[in-house]
């Protein structure tokens, strides 16, 4: 009898534990979600999530799609260390194969031109121009901490969601998640081609899922969407990024086929020495 009572108590205790622990965890999570962050905190968190890996090596395919649906494809390999060093090497097609781009701190950018066997220093005037025919600019392709260059403001989420619907973007995967909406304006003294950005930052993981780029005239110009956001190893990564240029009616999809994190990439890899290496 005593034994039966003892086992009943154990059962009740386990049941209670099973019921209470998740609700405690849920409560804790909700508290975290409820915590009010400032716009700058959200942006910094978002930067730290997007640039969280110590380093990354990515094999990707870029698909350039014009308004008639005609496609062109580019294969590329990207190496990134922290948020300040990035190298992109084109693997295909044949006419751009070997072309490589190196982005270093202090606006030091280099382009390797295999046909001339030469590395060309490129100045910041190219930052807002198309990168290898894609809808991404050199600036978009460079590693970036938004908090360094933009001043964020927290927007009314509901209002902005309505305005997005007006842009006929109805099939947003990111709709399934709650987002912070940040309005970013360039810091004083920093020249940008965009008058503002509207960044959608996921509330659950602070991943920047969507960035709307507005022209200097205030019109929506480009939309960058990050889809298939998954956790690989311990980092969040978007397996599909699309940049849609509404003016040109042209878009570029960037599909990641392979990603490796924290391999201990050395600083020397981000140098002219390795830029020209195959």
């Amino acid at each position: 009898m005593k034994e039966k009572k003892f086992f009943m108590m154990i059962e009740v205790w386990v049941l209670a534990l099973v019921m209470i622990v998740p609700s405690l965890a849920q409560e804790k999570k909700s508290e975290a979600q409820k915590k009010e962050f400032t716009a700058l905190e959200i942006l910094k968190k978002s930067d730290s999530v997007a640039n969280a890996p110590k380093d990354q090596e990515i094999i990707m395919e870029m698909i350039l799609i014009d308004k008639k649906g005609k496609q062109k494809k580019r294969g590329a390999k990207m190496l990134q260390k922290g948020s300040e060093k990035r190298m992109i090497k084109f693997l295909s097609p044949a006419d751009v194969k070997g072309l490589a781009f190196l982005d270093l701190p202090n606006d030091m950018m280099y382009l390797y031109l295999p046909a001339f066997k030469k590395i060309r220093r490129i100045a910041s005037h190219v930052k807002n121009t198309s990168f290898a025919g894609t809808d991404f600019t050199y600036d978009d392709m460079a590693s970036i901490n938004y908090a360094d260059e933009w001043v964020p403001g927290l927007m009314e989420s509901k209002k902005e969601i309505v305005s997005v619907s007006a842009e006929k973007e109805k099939e947003l995967e990111s709709k399934e998640c709650e987002h912070y909406l940040l309005e970013l304006k360039p810091k004083e003294g920093i020249k940008k081609d965009y008058s503002k950005l509207v960044m959608w930052v996921r509330k659950d993981n602070f991943y920047p899922a969507r960035i709307e780029h507005y022209s200097r005239e205030g019109k929506l110009w480009k939309i960058m969407e990050r889809r298939k956001i998954v956790k690989e190893a311990k980092y969040w990564v978007s397996k599909e990024t699309e940049m849609n240029d509404l003016k040109k009616e042209h878009k570029t999809k960037m599909l990641i086929s392979e990603v490796k994190f924290d391999q201990g990439l050395k600083d020397e890899l981000f140098s002219q020495r390795y830029l020209k290496r195959k």
Binding site: L64, D66, K72, K73, P93, A94, D95, K97, N106, D107, M108, F116, K117, K118, R120, R121, I122, A123, S124, H125, V126, N128, T129, S130, G133, K191, D193, K248, H250, E268, S271, Q272, R273, R277, K278
Partner: protein, 446 residues
């Protein structure tokens, strides 16, 4: 025989790589055609017929890398003049073709230490930060076969050792054997050569020349260079030194034979003068504008000139003074918000110019814009040659090179353009003002 050997080597090579593992060797290249038509009345004919298959092979071996490039070219026009030419098995007179061994080298990425690299073999070593016209780029001889293809060079057998230390790079180059430059075809050659002046009433009947190459020994033929590169206040800076030879020949002996009282024959002898070159180049930015500058201080060895006239005697003068001269180029580029790209350079001393008093000034500029999602690119390059700033009107040549590039699909490029030149006969480009051309080029990369 040469061509047979080439096929044997290529076939053997392809066979060997296919037996080992084809995936380890990458084959790439391009097909390129270039046809030009003269526009001037006296030159209204096809002036160039170039069809090229470039084959590139490269492979990564552990810790090393192999690269080679070969051009198979159908270059020129049929030269058939008699029926027997049509029966030649080589068919060279019907459809002339050549093979060009462009490059073949191996990179050793770690030589004794991680920081030391060696590249050995036939290679192009491109120095200088300026755009195509580089006074510090003297390691490879100029390939002026197509004078409009500025900056094209021949590769040479050489060894390049590079040591990386922090942000600095130290390079040493040894080129055991001297290779002379390729000169432009006869229609364009006058742009690079000075006309011979004769006393009134004397005309040239026949001109012959002979070229004396340096002897094939290290003292005479070998060339050396060192370079140090780094970053200073956010600018890329390099300093270099080259000891070698000028790749363009210089006349050092002239023998004049009077044939009649009004005509002469001339026989000239040419050599390749020794020279030292100290170079500096810099690339950086002023605000958003990209800037670069590159200068080279040429220190030539003195070359005497012997002029002997049969029946009169021999005179000695100086063909090239042992006097330092300085070639330089400075430029900038910028991209406007609408995508318009501008590039401009000021050049003092063209490729072939030598001697302090013989350097001219050139202003080159180009604008470029892409349309239709980069499927179409329009370019307008133009240049001004100024021989003498004091009398510009009589010493000026202008060049305008419009070009349209169309990229219908990936890997394909169709180019339509023109070379339009005008100027005074005293200028280099003015001498070839009757060579205006339009061209159509196709390129497919694979």
């Amino acid at each position: 025989m040469r061509k047979f050997m080439f096929f044997l080597v290529i076939s053997g090579f392809l066979l060997s790589i296919s037996r080992v593992s084809f995936a380890e060797v990458n084959l790439s290249g391009y097909v390129f055609t270039d046809n030009r038509l003269g526009l001037e009345e006296e030159n209204n004919k096809f002036t160039r017929n170039d069809n090229r298959l470039a084959l590139k092979l490269d492979s990564d071996i552990s810790g090393a890398h192999f690269y080679s490039e070969i051009w198979l070219r159908g270059l020129g026009f049929p030269t058939v003049s008699q029926s027997s030419d049509l029966q030649e098995k080589s068919k060279e007179k019907i459809s002339p073709w050549t093979i060009e061994f462009r490059e073949a080298y191996i990179d050793f990425y770690k030589l004794f230490t991680n920081n030391l690299e060696l590249r050995v073999g036939r290679q192009r070593i491109a120095w200088g930060t300026a755009d195509k016209l580089n006074p510090t780029d003297n390691l490879n001889p100029d390939d002026l076969e197509d004078i409009m293809d500025f900056g094209r060079k021949l590769s040479t057998n050489s060894m390049k050792l590079t040591y990386y230390l922090g942000g600095y790079t130290f390079t040493g180059v040894c080129i055991p054997l001297f290779t002379p430059a390729v000169l432009p075809s006869s229609e364009w050659a006058s742009a690079l050569s000075s006309p011979i002046s004769f006393p009134n009433g004397i005309t040239l009947r026949n001109f012959t020349d002979s070229i004396i190459l340096p002897e094939d020994n290290p003292q005479e033929s070998s060339m050396f260079a060192v370079k140090m590169a780094g970053n200073l206040f956010n600018n890329d800076l390099s300093v270099s030194y080259f000891y070698g030879r000028d790749d363009l020949p210089l006349i050092n002996k002239v023998e004049i034979t009077p044939i009649t009282s009004t005509t002469v024959d001339i026989r000239a002898e040419m050599i390749y003068p020794r020279m030292h070159v100290i170079g500096v180049d810099l690339a950086g930015a002023i605000g958003d504008i990209g800037v670069w500058t590159e200068g080279a201080c040429f220190i030539p060895e003195k070359v005497k000139m012997e002029t002997s006239t049969i029946g009169i005697g021999t005179q000695t003068s100086i063909a090239l003074k042992e006097e330092v001269y300085f070639k330089y180029v400075s430029g900038w580029d910028y991209t406007f918000k609408n995508g318009l790209y501008i590039n401009s350079q000021f050049l003092h001393g063209f490729i072939h110019e030598r001697g302090k008093d013989n350097l001219e000034d050139y202003l080159m500029a180009g604008i470029e814009k892409k349309f239709f999602n980069d499927e179409l690119k329009a370019k307008l390059n133009f240049g001004v040659e100024i021989k003498d700033w004091n009398e510009i009107e009589d010493n000026l040549a202008t060049m305008i090179f419009p070009e349209v590039n169309y990229y219908p699909v990936d890997n394909t490029e169709i180019i339509l353009g023109a070379y339009l030149i005008d100027g005074k006969d005293t200028t280099n480009f003015g001498k070839v003002k009757n060579n205006d051309e339009i061209y159509l080029k196709f390129k497919y990369s694979f």
